[in-house]
Each structure stands twice: as C-alpha cells, then as structure tokens.
Subunit: 225 residues, 2 copies
Amino acid sequence: MINFEALFRISYGLYIVSSGTKEYGNGFISNTVFQVTSEPPRFAACCNKENHTAGVIRSSGSFSVSVLQRETTPGIFATFGYKSGKDINKMEGMEIRYGETGVPIVLNDAIACLECRVVEIFDVGTHLMFIGELMNAEILDEKAEPLTYLYYRHVKKGVAPKNAPTYIDKAKLETRVEARMYDKYECAACGYIYDEEQEGVKFEDLPDDWVCPICGTEKVDFIKL
Amino acid sequence: MINFEALFRISYGLYIVSSGTKEYGNGFISNTVFQVTSEPPRFAACCNKENHTAGVIRSSGSFSVSVLQRETTPGIFATFGYKSGKDINKMEGMEIRYGETGVPIVLNDAIACLECRVVEIFDVGTHLMFIGELMNAEILDEKAEPLTYLYYRHVKKGVAPKNAPTYIDKAKLETRVEARMYDKYECAACGYIYDEEQEGVKFEDLPDDWVCPICGTEKVDFIKL
C-alpha cells in the first residue's frame, strides 16, 4: 500500500536548473538536484522529457544550478515553475551571469550556484537524469538559508507542477469527509489552492487587491473547486 | 573555481537504506534518496561501490528507506553511518519489520518508510545509483519532523563519512588563520570534531562522562588535532 503523504517526508531543496547559451537560454524549477559522487564531484539533475530545458541541456552539454533562498520572490516560481520556454523567453528581465561553458546562471534569489558539464544521461522513465561534473561552485549570499520543499509546501502552500518528479495527483491523497461550509479556490496560473478552512478567512472576504502568494495572479483568476 | 562550502547549500534528508532478507540484512546512512519520476513513482538511492550494502541490494533486488527523525539517537549514526556490515551485524538489536519483498525495514527513529524494487542500476563513478519502483510507503510518526543534512551539520555538528557522495576532504575547505588558543578534538569512532572555539568550552573542562554527541564514544577516545 502506498500512502502518498509519506513521500513528503523526503527532503529536497528548490533550484533553478538552467541551460543554453548567451543567445538562447532556458530554465526550470527543480527539487531533484543532488551530489552523486565526491571524487570527482558530480551532480544529478532530473528533468521531465516534456520540459523544454531537457532538449536545451542535451544540445548544449551543460547546466547550471541556482540554489534558491527561503524567501524567494513568487514571480520566480511563476516564470520558471509554471511557464514553458516554448511560449516565453524566461531569461528576459532576469539577472543573468554566463559560466565558463557559456551556460546562463540565474542570480535572482540565488544564494549559491553551480556549473556542471554533462557526462552521462540516464533514462529513468518520464524523466531524464543528467549527470554533470562540477566545474564551478560559488556562494552568492553567505547568510540566507536555502529554500526547502517542506518550507515551500507548508509555509508557502506551494504545490509541485505536473512535470515534477514529486507531482502527486490530488485524488491519490487521502481525502477527508468535510462539511461544505468551507470552499477551496485554485489559482488558474499555478495551481495553488486557497483553502478557506486552513486559512480561516472566506475567499470572498479577501481584499480585491489580494494576489496568489505563489505566482502573483489576481484574485479574479481563481476558480472555485 | 569550486568553493566546496557552496555544496552545503544543496538540501538533503537523512535515511537508513537497508537491504537483504530475514536471514541476513544490512543498511547504511544515506543522504541521497529522492524521487525521480511520479508515474510510476520511482526513487533513486546512491550507494558507494565499496559499501557492503551495494552488494546486498544487487543480490536481493530491493531496498527499503527509513526516513530519520530530527532527534535521531546518536547510536543510529554510529552503527549505520560509521561501521561496516563486513564487521558487525547492524540489524542486531534493532527494531525491524520485513517488507513484501522480504527486505528489512529499520523502524528505530523512523517517521516514514518506503519499500522499492530495483528496476535499474546506473554506474555514476565511485557510486552506484539504484532506481527502485515504489511498492509500499507508510507514515510511522505523523508529528515528528524529518532530519535534514543541514540540521545534522549545524546543530548536531555531524560530518559525512568517507563513503558518502557529499564527503569533503577538510583540506579542501577554506581555512582561516586562527590563534592557537583553541584546539580541536576528533572522535576516533565517527570523526566528529569538537571545536573549542565554536563551543566556547575547553575540551578538558568537559565533564568526564561527556560523550560524543554523534556516536556516544567516550571522552578519552578523542584525539587532539
């Protein structure tokens, strides 16, 4: 028996994994970046095959990792987590530096960054796992703490987008019988759920200038579930 | 340029990865367990080729993951993190349950557990990466928080053992010129460093019944560096 709630006990950080060149770059929010060997230092990054960045990493042969800080601006999740490089240029307006390999490194809200050259690509099903040898690593903010997935879920009430390795269909989570005094509203842009019961405030009582805490979408763009 | 301190900004949890059968089981402390796909749910676990457990996972074809709680007993790290299954029977005296595949699952200090059947093994250099399809997942303690590597390092002053993917040779970390008013003492069993400067208490002033906060080794078994 699989209790999908148990999977939330696995700890992750949150990162922007970017790839490309000065001419064209793309990136996405990832929670699966981790060191796989120490000699030499190698990192793995999982990427959904449907993600635009998967192709960009394949063709450029390198990727960068920006470690996000705890209080990351909601707009960063909106751009890198819920939009596709097929539709927009995600790097536009971002603070970017280019690595030794020419790969873009997003500096917005980053406390550290890594640059890796791809040495292996493994097929793990819906996702590709890129194994990269570490070329450069730098601390950008000595004091800020890294954002963890637990903090993002509990405090920021964030949810994983559909392409994430940790995405869980809500229908799979145990549901409780609830009195329908409370309603839930979903952000049309990022999927964030406003739960009246949890928040203690009816959605209609929120001020008109209230916006989605994750991606900044306006109140009118929420859908009653 | 690689600043190895930057690698500590990547977030991890801490787990006991176990394998084997009712007759013979073994396990080790891992920080690299993570979900790689959601459909079907698959997990990756990295294991040093030198680790005794690597062979056990290969032969049994399955592994379990016990998610450790924040306040895990030091003895758990001493047994699973710093001793080898070549020398001792790590499962002896532990609270064990056996999964569907017969794999042992360590319940001591575990807040959740997973059972996976190996579907792929990737060679990533010094380590093997086992990809397992999730068969069972359970919450064992609803309230306790998972232990993170950051907490283990900062609060518990723990260090990664030599076989860990995140092991860093101390010589690679930036060293500061220090007045030698303060000394450091190393635990002979687990490598934990008692730093007088950081602790604000001279090692010789610690009570005689003081023990290593990580593995419980006695004060006399510390070596002055």
